[in-house]
Subunit: 119 residues, 2 copies
DNA sequence: AAAAAAGGTAACTCAACGGTTACCAATGGG
DNA sequence: CCCATTGGTAACCGTTGAGTTACCTTTTTT
């Protein structure tokens, strides 16, 4: 399961938020949430496979801690959605109007935004 | 479905990435992906309910466009995981050592990180 | 007016998720 | 040495998600 799917679950997000305050044991995490310990254990397994947490074995205890670096893909995705169109919206509107006026007979084929016409 | 679950699906992420380049019709989006048009339509419904996209009806066509503002919750969550401990890690380590030395008899009860002892 | 295009919805199937209880191994304290 | 603690895993179950095909309405085109 990748990081996107891992953070889709509210309980897993709470676990990550908790671990942002410092490492914790499984029993402690389970005590703070209204689900059974095996459920917590499996959520931690999912988070581990996604690289979002890592565990240190200390005797019979297992201490989980956050690995924020694994959120890189998510951050990259969010950033990619932020890229603005290279041409201002108003300019596109004006160009679209002109294209429509001069090629009214041509059927609209592929898409709405006039990027293709620009290219 | 909230924004977290909405972006958990790879196909929906591709749709959002595509819409970052400009609005598009359902048939165009379907043509660019290896799934049926009804599947695309339902993904767009999910994205709409999450507030991530919005549609303009133009005759028989429906033009979907991105609404990046709906990602606010996701950004906030990521930012919340970035908060560093208020005290440097090395200082915590030193303090933990001291606590262990001076209260060796006390059973470890709640959690690993020594924030509680600080408070 | 008829046909084609665009797009939403319903019904169905199958796989994946998340929860539970039961059970196991390993470690540490009396 | 015994037993409590910690934590992982298996088996089971109900729900949800995502895909498909079939069908419908609305709008445009010829």
């Amino acid at each position: 399961m990748d990081a996107f799917a891992a953070i889709a679950d509210p309980l897993r997000r709470e676990l990550l938020t908790r671990l942002a305050d410092g490492p914790a044991r499984v029993v402690d995490l389970a005590a703070e949430h209204p689900v059974s310990r095996p459920a917590i254990s499996r959520h931690l397994k999912v988070l581990t496979e996604a690289g979002l947490v890592e565990a240190d074995d200390l005797g019979r205890e297992r201490h989980y801690r956050l690995r924020p670096a694994a959120l890189h893909d998510v951050r990259t995705f969010l950033a990619s959605l932020d890229r603005r169109p290279l041409i201002a919206e108003s300019a596109l509107d004006a160009l679209e109007t002109e294209v429509r006026r001069t090629s009214r007979e041509r059927r609209r084929t592929t898409q709405t935004a006039p990027q293709e016409e620009i290219a």
